[in-house]
């Protein structure tokens, strides 16, 4: 974990997204006070809380591996935070039953964790956090082990509760759709470093570097070696022997790129169009594999500069072993320098 500088507004719902081992959980544990911070400060409402113990931070946490109390039944598992705060018994009862209803746990209320299914355990873990009215919610993959339909349902429930209570929430997930659905902003992390913070839309369209571009998006990004060239007054990129002009907007956003230096072009497979061989601005390719996936098909094509995946409507899919042209929707493409940083600055910097 290094140099994490993230400001979360009061009442904001921030998702931390990243591959496993990227420091998401460590970040959350530091916020919760379970892991020491070796350098830097954690401020809540302007107060430094580095040295405040976990029990006094007034944060509720959902642990990734549930961490239920195995010797207590569901009722008492969920009631534990209230018992610690000496809430009156009848109020505890009311609140536990209400949470159990929300989470569909009423029938299991007297069961011990060991008799519950994984999904039920996860909901108990969620219930133990939701029963509180903490300053901050910390959730570590709270829906990671639920079936798809329950996940979607509880995702909406978490978002609804958030809108109702407005409690600041930090939510870890590896599912970008989930992050997009529940979060106001998404923070992408990799290798212990924060990469970019923004809405899912921002991350998709204006990734700051190659990692974010590769990590976000429904399909894996195509990366092709290219050069930047100046051609008749405007900027173009050269892929193999093909020169594709950049849009005026991209030309304006282009920063810090040297002509003729080796760069990488990032194109999402759904921004690749299959056209006839020799069409204007198309790259010659050989269709190696066609994977039908219902309405769309994934076309794996070999080009002189490497393999390119394209996602096309199944009705327009070429046949295997045919020669085709690939046309890139250049306005949606990304250009990365040798260090992986995007050469297109965010729109904010242009205005």
């Amino acid at each position: 974990m290094r140099d994490l500088d993230l400001v979360i507004e009061d009442g904001e719902f921030v998702c931390i997204l990243g591959p496993s081992g990227c420091g998401k959980s460590s970040t959350l544990r530091m916020l919760a006070g379970l892991e020491p911070v070796t350098a830097g400060d954690i401020l809540v409402d302007g107060t430094r809380i580095n040295d405040v113990s976990a029990r006094n931070r007034d944060m509720a946490m959902v642990f990734e591996n549930y961490a239920l109390y195995p010797h207590l039944d569901v009722y008492h598992n969920i009631a534990m935070p209230l018992v610690a705060r000496r809430v009156r018994n009848d109020e505890i009862r009311d609140r536990v039953f209400r949470v159990c209803e929300t989470l569909r746990l009423t029938e299991q209320i007297n069961s011990r964790p060991r008799t519950l299914s994984g999904g039920q355990r996860q909901r108990v873990a969620l219930g133990r956090a939701l029963i509180r009215h903490p300053r901050i919610f910390l959730m570590d993959e709270p829906l990671g082990h639920l079936e798809a339909h329950l996940r979607a349902e509880l995702r909406a429930e978490i978002r609804r509760l958030h809108e109702q209570r407005g409690t600041t929430t930090v939510y870890i997930t590896h599912d970008q759709q989930e992050a997009g659905a529940v979060g106001d902003r998404i923070a992408v992390m990799n290798a212990g470093r924060l990469q970019q913070v923004g809405s899912l839309h921002d991350l998709l369209n204006w990734p700051v570097n190659r990692f974010v571009a590769q990590f976000i998006g429904e399909w894996p990004l195509n990366l092709l070696p290219v050069n930047l060239i100046a051609e008749s007054g405007s900027m173009s990129i050269r892929v193999d022997d093909l020169a594709i002009p950049l849009t005026p907007m991209q030309t304006r956003r282009l920063t810090g790129a040297k002509l003729e230096s080796p760069l990488e072009l990032g194109v999402r497979p759904d921004d690749v169009e299959i056209v006839n061989v020799g069409s204007a601005l198309s790259l010659r390719a050989h269709v190696a594999v066609v994977e039908p996936q219902g309405d769309t098909s994934v076309v794996v094509a070999e080009t002189a500069v490497g393999r390119v995946n394209a996602v096309v409507p199944s009705t327009e899919a070429p046949i295997t072993n045919s020669a085709v042209g690939l046309k890139f929707a250049i306005a949606q493409a990304h250009l990365f320098g040798p260090d992986g940083a995007s050469l297109f600055t965010g729109l904010d910097n242009i205005k």
Partner: protein
């Protein structure tokens, strides 16, 4: 125990049932039970002799050949408890119970806290401290007899229950700490972290979360401590004479000074075994596995 039991069950099932309802028992199973039975019989036979002798009248005790069927009498027990040697065994039973109870509660109580600290708090010299605690049991107890006697003498604790409670507690502590440290370390740390986030203090977590989860360990430690304190003879015989003497001390004096009052002697033997057996039987149902199942994924 478990594998052999399920193994034999499987073997019987394989043997199958014959048409007439007879069960074929494979020879291997038979042999297994025979060996086990012989061993158990060998171990329990002396106890059988003690129990039957304690219930026999004097003429049956010395009868030869031994009588296997006799009219049981509780006269020996009455004699042993209240009459024999002027005051009977009763006072010594009370001593044993008090000393065992106090030393067990103390060693399990203090030991569990020490074990929790050693298992959970990463302080400097933790490993060395753990090893040092274990090493207190390396030397044979008899090596400590003289120093301990002198210490008791200086503190005016000779022939007092306190002296034995303190010694037994210190001797049991290392065992209790080592046993429970392992149990505490097996509790997934996240359960305690969850309790911390839920707003509990360290002490509350220890009492409400950690302790209930190591119940089998507590029970094992209590049984081992109690059995040790109940049966300990060396320090008891050296530090106590009359006032604070425990049952083993009484028993040893019995056979020497009173000649061979076999009936009463055996009755005291039965009485000496009974409380600790009951104690163990009572606690045994808590020796269950898997208390932390379901806590984490």
């Amino acid at each position: 125990m478990k594998p052999s039991r399920s193994g034999s069950a499987a073997a019987t099932a394989k043997g199958g049932e014959l048409a007439g309802g007879f069960r074929l028992v494979p020879a291997a199973v038979l042999v297994r039970y025979l060996v086990a039975g012989t061993f158990v019989g060998f171990c329990l036979f002396p106890f059988y002799i003690i129990l039957t002798t304690s219930l026999k009248a004097e003429r049956d005790i010395f009868a030869w050949p031994p009588v296997w069927l006799f009219d049981p009498t509780f006269k020996n027990f009455y004699q042993a408890l209240f009459v024999f040697g002027g005051q009977g065994a009763f006072a010594f039973i009370v001593n044993s119970v008090i000393i065992t109870a106090f030393s067990t509660v103390l060693s399990v109580g203090l030991g569990s806290m020490a074990a929790y600290g050693l298992a959970r708090f990463p302080f400097r010299g933790r490993k060395q401290l753990s090893f040092w605690i274990l090493s207190t049991r390396f030397a044979p107890p008899i090596a400590f007899v003289v120093p301990v006697y002198l210490m008791a003498l200086q503190l005016d604790l000779l022939d007092s229950r306190i002296a034995l409670v303190l010694i037994y507690t210190s001797m049991n502590l290392s065992l209790v700490i080592w046993l429970l440290r392992g149990f505490f370390m097996e509790i997934p740390i996240e359960i305690e972290e969850a309790a911390l986030v839920d707003g509990y203090t360290r002490l509350q977590i220890f009492r409400r979360v950690a302790l209930p989860l190591v119940r089998p360990g507590i029970v094992t430690a209590a049984i081992l401590s109690a059995v040790f304190s109940w049966n300990e003879f060396l320090f008891a015989v050296i530090l106590t004479q009359t006032h604070a003497a425990t049952l083993p001390v009484y028993l040893s004096g019995f056979s020497n000074a009173m000649g061979l009052a076999w009936g009463e002697y055996m009755a005291v033997g039965v009485i000496a075994v009974l409380p600790i057996t009951l104690f163990t039987a009572m606690l045994q149902k808590h020796l269950v596995r898997g208390l932390t199942f379901g806590a984490i994924r």
